[in-house]
Amino acid sequence: MASLRDIKNRITSTKKTSQITKAMQMVSAAKMNKAEMNAKSFVPYMEKIQEVTASIALGSKDVSHPMLTSRPVKKTGYLVITSDRGLAGAYNSNVLRNVYQTIQKRHKSPDEYAIIAIGRVGRDFFRKRNMNVILDIVAVADQPAFAEIKDIASKTVGMFADETFDELYMYYSHYVSAIQQDVTEKKLLPLTDISSSKKLTSYEFEPSAEEILKVLLPQYAESLIYGALLDSKASEHAARMTAMQNATDNAKELINSLSLSYNRARQAAITQEITEIVGGAAALE
């Protein structure tokens, strides 16, 4: 049996760990709230840009733009959003497993796909497996501003335009609630499924519908990427919060069972001492 001191040490160290996980849980909870608010303040922009894009793309039949039309697929792009750090439960592995399996199923050789990784965990995962990572960004802030992501978003959209790949899928964790996040696959480019719930308006175009689509569509695609990033940041903090909550609970349980065996060992030691004294006294008589 472990000595009294060993058990005591374990209790202390577990207590310290649980303090850390508790603090991390609270930090994540605060960050999650903030991330949720960021996602909310992005909604008006997204709704508006979607409405206008839909009005133009669906409203006028005779406009065309490379980003709206499907072309034969020679290479597929995958944009994968993960976090930079672990300790977030199954947050990263869910996304990565999903992407990995899809790629294995769809493609035979690495020439058929390209990966754009946002987040260190995803980048390292694909690099280690020698998969074709063509673009990556790490250390995105917890509350990302659009300016931070603009560069990679416009490069990604640019790669579709110059035919580096012919379609682009986005993989990220969609934030449903604090306890539920779903891995989502979304086809980003070409923009074939534009729809709007609101009534379409017919606009005058200044100078022309084509000119406007040239500005509008890249901006729309970039904002979809930004929206997904905000969504997955909220998921990340929620996942980390849950993971840390579980860790804290486990630590508490462990401390309870350790204190029980500590008390038992202490009692055993006392009993033994008493027996020894009584035995000693009896021997003297």
Partner: protein, 135 residues
């Protein structure tokens, strides 16, 4: 006087929301002034200032491109970044301007970085001018 509702929205949230008498800005095809009751219209914008006239005073918002959507009772400006005149970080804009100028001097013409530096310079100059209200 009749007014029209204006909102300037960026991915980071709304920047400006108010009722004004007239909106004037620089679209890619030239200067554009919008009064209440305008027909629905969409136009891409240049990097520049949006002037919003209300009563005697004029508000300035610096926008970096994006586009303008007009409806009879509402104008929406969607830009990837926008700041109101008094919220502009002038020091940062000045630094960005110097950086862009330096890069332009180093680079040879006709490459992508040159184009980007040029845009960065335009944005920086625009911010500085808007913050000084030089329009």
């Amino acid at each position: 006087m009749k007014t029209i509702k204006v909102s300037v929205v960026t991915p980071d949230g709304p920047v400006y929301e108010s009722d004004v008498e007239m909106v004037s800005t620089k679209a890619q095809s030239g200067e554009l002034g919008i009064l209440p009751g305008h027909i629905p219209m969409v136009a891409p914008l240049q990097i520049g200032a949006v002037r919003l006239k209300n009563g005697g005073k004029t508000d300035f918002v610096a926008v970096s491109g994006g586009f303008l959507e007009v409806r009879p009772e509402q104008v929406t400006i969607l830009a990837q970044s926008a700041e109101q005149a008094d919220e502009i970080d002038v020091e940062r804009a000045v630094r960005a301007k110097q950086r862009a100028e330096q890069r332009l001097n180093e680079q040879k013409r006709e490459n992508i970085d040159f184009r980007r530096a040029e845009l960065a310079l335009q944005r920086a100059i625009n911010r500085i001018e808007v913050s000084e209200r030089k329009f």
